[in-house]
């Protein structure tokens, strides 16, 4: 039985260790910071505002509308 071979057992456990901690590294230091910091940046909590912006962005051609809206906001700020 090859499964009873010590080296294969060691290899399996060692490989699991390496890959599990690589997954942990990716999730802890890449996915979670990316997703949870972006949440505040995008104002994700306000669903209605998010949907409005999403459809405006997706229907506009090459982002012209966004640029015009940004100009409008800039003017109003001045």
């Amino acid at each position: 039985m090859p499964q009873l071979d010590f080296f294969i057992f060691f290899d399996e456990a060692f490989t699991t260790f390496i890959f599990f901690f690589y997954f942990y590294y990716v999730f802890s230091f890449f996915f979670i910071p990316l997703l949870f910091k972006a949440k505040f940046y995008l104002n994700f909590i306000n669903k209605t505002l998010f949907l409005k912006n999403f459809f405006n962005a997706s229907f506009s051609v090459s982002g012209n509308k966004i640029i015009s809206e940004t100009k409008y906001i800039n003017k109003s700020l001045k």
């Binding site: 090859p2 499964q3 080296f7 294969i8 057992f9 290899d11 399996e12 456990a13 490989t15 699991t16 260790f17 890959f19 599990f20 690589y22 997954f23 942990y24 990716v26 999730f27 802890s28 890449f30 996915f31 979670i32 990316l34 997703l35 949870f36 972006a38 949440k39 995008l42 994700f44 912006n53 999403f54 962005a57 997706s58 982002g63 966004i66």
Partner: protein, 256 residues
């Protein structure tokens, strides 16, 4: 030809050859079909990364929001089951879930190898999950962590026996976590193998018969339905592992 349903779980050690000489000796360092499956899981993870960052609009794509909703569900589960002070454990919870899910689903791809059907892999996950929880409990609660082994409102005469039972149940959490995942995966894959083998053996009686082709359509549908069920089990086992991990994590934060 008769195939054993368990031969699909066999590990084949391979060795690399460069310029007609082996790069690593077969006895020392192995590159098996299990390692190859792990490498494929890594490609899945990198794909996930790529899908997440690939965004054509100002706002992120669908996979971003899907993943974010999964993360928020995990966070809400963590807060509701353990508490707000346990939010730092989100990384390990998500890692356990996605690690088991990706490996389970990769095993269902035809000619793939199911990594979670190996007892040492699941045993590693269970042992380190429970070991980590124990260390976390000692770090958070200190000596009060031992209250876990002392049941309340019990006669003093019964207390030693019940404490021994509690200790045994605590140790057997490792086994229960690992054997549940291992047994589910082995049973599902063996069932699929047996049914597919039966279908192929009947099919080989008369290959040219059109009537038989129509008759075998129904068993093929049955196998397809079981395949879908296996997909559900692959997801469910990852979920069950994480939910049990959270229940056990509760003991590391709250002393009763």
């Amino acid at each position: 030809m008769i195939f054993s349903p368990l031969e699909q779980f066999e590990i084949f050690p391979n060795s690399f050859y460069i310029f007609q000489s082996s790069l690593v000796t077969k006895d020392f360092f192995l590159f098996s079909n299990l390692d190859f499956s792990f490498l494929v899981s890594l490609i899945e993870l990198l794909n996930l990364k790529w899908f997440l960052l690939e965004s054509k609009f100002v706002f992120p794509n669908f996979s971003y929001f899907f993943l974010e909703s999964v993360f928020l569900v995990a966070l809400s589960m963590l807060v509701s089951m353990v508490g707000k002070n346990a939010q730092a454990n989100l990384g390990i919870v998500l890692t356990l879930f996605f690690f088991i899910l990706i490996l389970n689903v990769l095993g269902l791809i035809p000619f793939g190898f199911c990594v979670t059907s190996q007892i040492i892999v699941t045993q590693f996950l269970g042992f380190f999950a429970i070991g980590g929880l124990t260390l976390k409990g000692i770090q958070n609660l200190g000596f009060n962590f031992l209250n876990l082994f002392v049941p309340r409102n019990v006669p003093i005469v019964m207390l030693p026996f019940l404490s021994v039972i509690e200790i045994i149940s605590f140790i057997s959490r490792t086994l229960s976590l690992s054997i549940r995942l291992f047994a589910n995966m082995v049973a599902g894959h063996a069932l699929l193998h047996i049914l597919m083998g039966a279908l192929l053996s009947i099919f080989s009686i008369n290959f040219a018969s059109v009537l038989l082709l129509i008759v075998f359509f129904l068993p093929a549908l049955l196998i397809f339905a079981i395949m879908l069920l296996e997909m559900g089990i692959a997801f469910l086992q990852a979920y069950v592992f994480v939910v049990l991990f959270l229940i056990y994590l509760n003991d590391s934060y709250k002393s009763h």
